[in-house]
Symmetry: C2
Subunit: 201 residues, 2 copies
């Protein structure tokens, strides 16, 4: 049976709401009222609640999509990485790609429904998994210092998140913090974890 006009109509409206919400939330954070989202999407305020019974449902939908997308990007990129340096570079690439929404996620995590935490966990677990296997190998090869992997990971993530969370101190608010500081972040971190004989330039 072919797709009816009504069905496409409905799914278009849904798509418009999702896309607009994603954009606006990325730009201004999650406390933008539903009425503004509706206006920006060019649909009525009521339409939002036809498609998403509550605001929470919309958020959960956005977060779950986001987790899937970013998770997929992380999975793909990790396959080509045989060195820490490469892995971290690719991690930064993915972060830069998703930077706006990702920053909001880590910034406002607590105000979001619990599903936000699982999105966060899924993303970090994916990174952690690839990080672990690469670092493990490098520690065995003797190119990286022998320290507990989880805390090496937390140091990296802590550093990157620090820049994302405090964007306003590091760059004018429209530019990408990751793009601006990627070289510095990378070289410092690698110099810290590598054995002296392997110093990164």
């Amino acid at each position: 049976m072919r797709v009816s006009t009504r069905q496409t109509q409905k799914s278009n409206t849904r798509k418009k709401i999702i896309e607009t919400a994603y954009r606006i939330f990325s730009e201004k954070g999650f406390s933008v009222p539903t009425s503004i989202i509706a206006k920006e999407a060019g649909v009525s305020h009521g339409s939002i609640f036809v498609h998403f019974p509550t605001l929470n449902d919309l958020l959960i939908c956005l977060l779950s999509d986001f987790g899937d997308n970013m998770g997929a990007s992380l999975h793909m990129l990790a396959k080509k990485c045989y060195s820490v340096e490469n892995l971290l570079k690719e991690h930064l690439n993915v972060l830069e790609e998703y930077e706006a929404f990702y920053s909001r996620l880590i910034l406002e995590k607590n105000r979001l429904p619990d599903e936000a935490k699982s999105t966060f966990v899924i993303i970090q677990s994916t990174v952690a998994f690839h990080f672990s296997s690469v670092i493990d190998r490098e520690i065995e090869k003797g190119t990286v210092k022998k320290l507990p992997i989880h805390i090496l990971f937390n140091t990296w993530l802590g550093l990157v998140h620090y820049y994302l969370l405090n964007k306003e101190f590091f760059s004018d608010s429209n530019g990408s913090v990751i793009r601006r500081y990627r070289a510095e972040l990378l070289s410092t971190y690698l110099n810290l974890i590598k054995k002296e004989s392997e110093v990164y330039e």
Copy 2:
């Protein structure tokens, strides 16, 4: 002229509000309604607005007091520090002392009035200042790797903040994350920044 009953009455009420707000905000975050604060403080809801025209004024008062207190603690402790190890230990001591409110501050910074940012800046500047001078000396002595100081500092703060911001992943929510992880945080970070000949045990 001696202090009148009324004056003490008034200043007691004010004190009760401030102390209660500080405690409740530390426990539950800054979105607890003023009516709850009033009830917990044992004063009427209206009293809050007699002492603080707007909620923002109360927040600004709390933040400014907090900045002064924590700033003072940081100043005092920094005086006895001649090694990075010592400085970081003392930093962790101060963080542990102010942990509850400090965590809320870094967690909800953006929802707070702009004065929150200046409180944050004052605190970090104080730490950064002492950090710089100690690290500078150690780099010259050759015990610490020669890397840009600001990013060594951001790595440390990023790591510690990562634990504070993600408390729920690291410890049951009532305990202190700093107390639980201080040894690990310290030893890992020192091992990272020290030259190999100086490895920290």
